[in-house]
């Protein structure tokens, strides 16, 4: 390209093969069909992750991870630091949107069977990223050290005891002691800003690498239409067409987050008081609620193990769905996916609509 005759381009090109990268990006395309909209959710998730990294780093400038000053430091960020309220509220809202996008991304991939051969590793890394995202949510929720977070963490970590043999050990590992204390806070802080980001970055790199190497999966229905000549194979150049669409989504998402953060700044709540009794109807963050609600109906052990096994099956799903792997649409798995989504929505709705239970 002629306009790239400037010295910086040449200097970099000689060292990092910019032309190669450019060539790759220029030739990169995204399948373009009536289900293409779901392709944007992954990019949205990635974008929100970046938002989280940036706002998270900003929060680190003032946050203090001890029981004595965590709450005060968050209050300080919210009140004294210019735009601190904005940074923290964005971090909180984007976190929730992030988890939401992860779920949407995952279920869209599930329904379209995008996990099928040869994209098993993309699915597995993605499913593991979901667990990491939930870990982010769970550990980050405690950090402001307010009463609700304290109690939710108390309940949340207590499920570790269900694990046979090493359960008590896991509990102590998570809590940094027998109870949720300042030690737990410091530990969760470590998980939240060091362990989880490290693991996530590595896994995300793997995930994205697979996406780039293999390109986007085209749903079986569309493939069938193309192979039966009912439709053309259509593709969208990644640059600029797809990227601009991504950017449009990101811009609108940013607008939504700013709107929420400004109109409803994330509350600081009451400082955690270990001696205060737990209020009734204590509930974890919304993305854990379907599990929490389930545990009210089934014996705890059954519930915890049920979810553990379901989680494992979910991760290894591509290996079970042989039909999709052969490129034949699998109605049974579509039904399973819809049932799972419906179950989660209903359980969550029940918990929120009937708090008296």
């Amino acid at each position: 390209m002629a306009e790239h005759s400037n010295w910086l381009y040449r200097w970099l090109d000689e060292r990092v093969d910019l032309q190669g990268l450019e060539k790759f990006l220029r030739h990169k395309t995204v399948p373009y069909h009536r289900h293409s909209i779901w392709y944007y959710v992954g990019g949205m998730t990635l974008y929100l992750f970046v938002v989280q990294v940036i706002t998270g780093i900003l929060l680190l400038l003032y946050y203090k991870p001890t029981a004595e000053s965590a709450y005060e430091s968050v209050q300080y960020i919210m009140t004294e630091v210019p735009f601190g309220w904005l940074v923290r509220s964005i971090h909180s809202y984007a976190a929730n949107l992030f988890i939401g996008c992860v779920f949407v991304h995952m279920f869209s991939v599930f329904i379209m069977k995008a996990y099928r051969k040869p994209r098993e590793f993309t699915w597995i890394s993605g499913a593991l990223l979901l667990f990491l995202a939930m870990g982010f949510g769970f550990s980050g929720y405690l950090l402001p050290w307010n009463q609700l977070a304290y109690l939710a963490t108390n309940v949340g970590t207590s499920f570790a005891t269900m694990v046979p043999v090493v359960g008590p050990w896991i509990l102590e590992f998570l809590r940094g002691g027998k109870e949720v204390t300042g030690a737990t806070l410091t530990r969760f802080f470590g998980f939240h800003v060091a362990v989880l980001p490290g693991l996530t970055t590595a896994l995300l790199a793997v995930h994205l690498l697979f996406v780039q190497r293999q390109g986007m999966s085209v749903p079986i229905v569309i493939e069938d239409e193309i192979s039966s000549k009912k439709a053309d194979r259509r593709e969208l150049p990644f640059i600029p067409n797809f990227l601009f669409r991504d950017m449009l989504g990101w811009t609108l998402a940013l607008g939504l987050i700013i709107l929420l953060a400004t109109l409803f700044p994330w509350e600081v709540g009451d400082k955690a008081d270990i001696l205060k009794p737990a209020p009734a109807h204590i509930r974890p963050e919304w993305y854990f609620v379907f599990m929490y609600q389930t545990l009210k109906y089934v014996p705890k052990v059954v519930g915890v193990f049920g979810f553990a096994i379901a989680g494992m099956v979910w991760v290894l799903l591509p290996f079970f769905d042989r039909k999709s792997n052969r490129g034949i649409s699998n109605k049974l798995y579509t039904a399973i996916g819809i049932i799972v989504v419906a179950y989660m929505i209903i359980m969550t709705a029940v918990a929120y609509l009937a708090p008296g239970e």
Binding site: T66, Y76, P82, L86
Partner: protein
């Protein structure tokens, strides 16, 4: 993506100008959003004047602000504290100052320094403390908690850390 020259020149020019207009629109939009993002971040990064949260030490006064035999109430965390420069004390020596929580141990009123009797005094029920924080008279059941005073440059710092 080769441009095929099938349009008359005017149409091409019109197309180019529209393209430019959109690019300017896009560029200015990105610039505005970028500025709108960078500005709060820079404001955020610059630490506010009010010292940090969960303070264990604050700058209570400047050297020379207090005259000998004078006291000052200042905010320490979310509670008041009192700094006193002892009568005849050297304003530039930390040893001439004493600092305590200004919350009376009786019913929690804010105490003050009484230059006439060289005591820390609570107006609510006439409680008197000496300049070691000890109760001299009145209803306070326990002494005032003492803080450590240090001078760094022109600032007098008071810290809750044990000396």
């Amino acid at each position: 993506m080769l441009e095929i020259d099938i349009y008359p020149l005017e149409m091409r020019l019109e197309k180019v100008s529209r393209r430019n207009a959109i690019n300017i629109l896009l560029g200015s939009g990105i610039a505005a959003l970028g500025a709108g993002t960078i500005y709060p971040i820079i404001r955020y990064i610059i630490p506010p004047a009010e010292s940090g949260s969960g303070t264990s030490s604050v700058s209570a006064a400047k050297v020379g602000e207090l005259k000998p035999n004078e006291g000052k109430i200042f905010k320490f965390g979310d509670k008041p504290a009192i700094l006193v420069l002892k009568a005849g004390g050297d304003p530039s020596s930390a040893a001439s100052y004493v600092a305590f929580t200004a919350v009376c141990t009786h019913l929690g009123c804010t105490v003050q320094y009484r230059a006439d009797i060289k005591n820390i005094w609570c107006a609510c029920h006439n409680g008197h403390y000496d300049l070691n924080g000890m109760v001299i008279s009145g209803p306070p059941p326990t002494p005032l908690t003492a803080y450590t005073v240090a001078i760094k440059g022109e600032e007098i710092f008071v810290s809750s850390a044990k000396a």
